[in-house]
Symmetry: C2
Subunit: 368 residues, 2 copies
C-alpha cells in the first residue's frame, strides 16, 4: 500500500496501534507534543544516532525488519555502555515514495522486537518524507543510579582492559555481503551482455534462454553456509545488556566503559584520551570467532586488523580495577586483553611476536 494513501496521521495510527507501554518510567507515549517520562530516583541517560541509506546500510541485503532491529539495538547499546538500563525509544524516519506501508510495518516489527527484548517502550517519533533515500534517527532514553554510571574518563593505571564477546565479525560479515552483491551484479551484467549479443544476432532461442536466466536471477541466493554468525553480527547485532547484568551480579563496577562501534583501536584511544592514560593490549588476547578467522583468511585480510578497525561489533570495552582480575577470569563472554598504563607510555598493541605498535584510530569514518 502506498504511504500517501494513509497520510501522516493514518500512518502513525497504524504503526503505533499495537504499542504497549510497560515501563513505570513512561507516563505518556506517542500522541502529544512530547512524551512524558518520570525519573525521580535515577539519572536520565539520552543518546541519539542517525542511520542514512547508502552510508550506514544498504537495502540490497538489509531488509526493513533487520534495519529496525539494528537501529534500536545500536542505540540501546549506548545506554548499556553507560552501565544504564534503556527505557524508551523515539523513532524518526524519513522515506521516499518507493517505500510502502508494509515496508514501514516491517521496520516497526524489527524495532518492536528489539524493544521487547530489553523491555523498552516506543514513546514517540516523526514520520516524514525524503526526496531520495531512507533516513533514520533514533533517540534512546535510559536511566541509572548516579553511583552506577560508568563514563569513559575513569580508567586508572593498572586497571585491566576487558572486552565482551568477540571482535571483527560484523566487519567481515559486511565484506561478505558486499562480495556477494558484486558477484550478483556481475552475473546479471554478464547475462545482459550475452542477451544484447543474441538480440544483435537475432537468435530467438538464445534470447528466450537468456531472458529466462535473467528472471531466475531474482531468486539468487548466495550460499552463506558456515558463515551465518558473520551475517548475524552484521545484520542483527545485540546490545550487551547481558554483560551489564553479569558484571552487576558479580559486584564488579567498571572504572570506564564504552561500546565498540568504530573498532577497538578508536574506542581505546577515546578511553585513554578522556581518562588521561595509556594502555597496552595483547594481540593474542583479542577475542576472535572461528568464522571470522576463516573469513579473513579467505579475504586475505589480517583478522586482528578487522578487530581493531572494523567497527559495528557493539561489544563492550571496559576497564576494571586489577583486584577484580580473578572474578573476571572466571566469567563467560569477557576477555582481558591488556591493562591501563601511564599516559606517556602511549596506547600500544603487543603482537604475538612481541613487537609493539601504537594504536591508531583508523576506525570507520563516515565523513571520509
Amino acid at each position: 500500500m502506498e504511504i500517501s494513501k494513509l497520510g501522516e496521521f493514518g500512518l502513525i495510527d497504524r504503526l503505533t496501534k499495537n504499542i504497549k507501554l510497560t515501563n513505570k518510567t513512561t507516563i505518556k507515549g506517542v500522541g502529544d507534543d512530547s512524551a512524558i517520562l518520570h525519573y525521580p530516583d535515577t539519572e536520565v541517560l539520552v543518546t541519539s544516532d542517525m542511520l542514512m541509506e547508502g552510508i550506514h546500510f544498504d537495502l540490497t541485503y538489509m531488509d526493513m525488519y533487520h534495519l529496525g532491529y539494528k537501529a534500536a539495538m545500536v542505540n540501546m547499546s549506548d545506554i548499556f555502555a553507560m552501565n544504564g538500563t534503556p527505557r524508551q525509544l523515539i523513532v524518526n524516519i524519513a522515506l521516499s515514495k518507493r517505500f510502502t506501508v508494509e515496508d514501514l510495518e516491517e521496520f516497526y516489527r524489527g524495532l518492536q522486537q528489539a524493544c521487547d527484548k530489553w523491555n523498552v517502550d516506543i514513546v514517540g517519533g516523526d514520520t516524514s518524507a525524503s526526496y531520495t533515500g531512507l533516513a533514520i534517527s533514533i533517540t534512546c532514553i535510559g536511566d541509572a543510579r548516579k553511583e552506577e554510571i560508568v563514563c569513559r574518563n575513569g580508567a586508572k593505571e593498572t586497571d585491566l582492559i576487558c572486552v565482551s564477546g568477540d571482535l571483527g565479525a560484523a566487519y567481515l560479515g559486511l565484506q561478505l555481503l558486499e562480495r556477494e552483491k558484486t558477484v550478483y551484479y556481475q552475473q546479471v551484467e554478464d547475462i545482459q551482455k550475452r542477451l544484447r549479443k543474441a538480440q544483435a544476432d537475432g537468435n530467438a532461442q538464445h534470447i528466450a534462454a537468456l531472458n529466462d536466466e535473467l528472471s531466475r536471477m531474482k531468486d539468487f541466493q548466495p550460499d552463506f553456509a558456515g558463515k551465518e554468525y558473520l551475517l548475524d553480527r552484521q545484520l542483527k547485532p545485540e546490545a550487551r545488556g547481558d554483560i551489564i547484568a553479569q558484571l552487576r551480579d558479580a559486584n564488579i563496577h567498571p572504572t570506564s566503559m564504552m561500546d565498540i562501534s568504530d573498532g577497538l583501536s578508536s574506542e581505546l584511544l577515546h578511553i585513554c584520551k578522556q581518562s588521561g592514560c595509556g594502555c597496552r593490549i595483547y594481540e593474542k588476547n583479542i577475542p576472535i570467532d572461528y568464522q571470522a578467522a576463516v573469513m579473513a583468511e579467505e579475504f586475505n585480510m589480517n583478522v586482528i586488523t578487522c578487530a581493531l578497525n572494523g567497527g559495528e561489533d557493539y561489544e563492550l570495552l571496559f576497564t576494571v580495577p586489577i583486584g577484580d582480575h580473578e572474578k573476571i577470569e572466571g566469567m563467560e563472554n569477557i576477555k582481558q586483553i591488556g591493562y591501563i598504563t601511564k599516559e606517556d607510555l602511549g596506547a600500544m598493541l603487543i603482537t604475538r611476536d612481541g613487537q609493539e605498535f601504537a594504536l591508531q584510530a583508523q576506525g570507520w569514518n563516515p565523513l571520509k
Copy 2:
C-alpha cells in the same frame, strides 16, 4: 574547509568546543556514549523531529544559520506546548560532500543562538554523511512539574479556544520565497536563451553583455521591502515561551494545548479528537497580520485559508476554562477565537457572513 579534512571527531571537537552547560538538570553533555541528565522533582518531556532537505527546507533561500535556528526553535516549541521548559537539545545531522566545515559552523551558530534565547544546553548528537541532501534530526528534552503539564486531551465543553500571535504569515512567507525563486530562475533561463542565440549569431558584443548580465545574477536580491515580517515568520520562527510565562504569571492553566505546526484546522481537530469534544471558531476572530493580508491579496489567496491550513506558525493553540475569559481578554498576543462544544456538534468554522463550515485537516502533509 572540506569536512573530510577534520574527520568525525575533529569536526565534533570543533563544533562543540564553545558549548557551555548552564542548566542544573544537565550533568554531562557531549563526549560520552550518552548525555546524563538529572530530573528528580519534575517530569521529563522528550520530543524529536526530522527536517529533510527539499521536503522541509530549501537551501536556495534558507541559509545554514537560519536552518539551525529554526530546527532548534520548532523542537523547543513542542516542549512549551506541553507547558514545559526546554532544557537540553540533541542534534543529529547528516550531510553530503557539498557542505563545508563553515556551513556546519553556521548551522551550529543558529542552533546556539536559539538555545541561548531559552537557556537550553546542547548535550549531544551525531554528525554523519549523507549521499545526497541534508538531513537533520533534533531531540529536545525539557521538564515540567506533574501538575503543570498540559496535554491535548483536556479540553472541556464551554472552554475558550485561544491562539497566540497571528496565523498564516509563515505560509505566505514561503509562497513569497518560492515566487522569487521562480522569478530568479526564469531570468537566468531567459539570459541563457539570449546568450545561445547571440552565440549562434556570432555577435561578440552581445555575448559579452549577456555574460555580464548572467554573472550579475549571482547578486540577485529580490525586493522584500514591506514583507520582512512574512520572511521572518518563515525563516526565523520563535517558540512562544513568552506566552507560557505570561499565562503562568496570570495564573491561567490551560486545559489543553499544542503548537500550531500543521495549520489551525488540523491542530484543532487533534484537540477535539483527543478531548472527545467539538468546537466553534469564528473567522472574524482569527488573528491575521497586516502583511499577511496584503500578501494573500497579491497572491489572490484567502488569508483565512492560509491561517487554517498553512502551517509552520509555531504559535500556541490552547483552551482555558470560560471563567478565565476576562483575564485572557486583557492579555497581549492572545486572541480568543471560539469555544469548545459537545463532540456531536462537530468542529465548525463560522464565517463573517454567518455560514458554518466543518473544519478539515488539509494541513501540510509531508507524505503526500
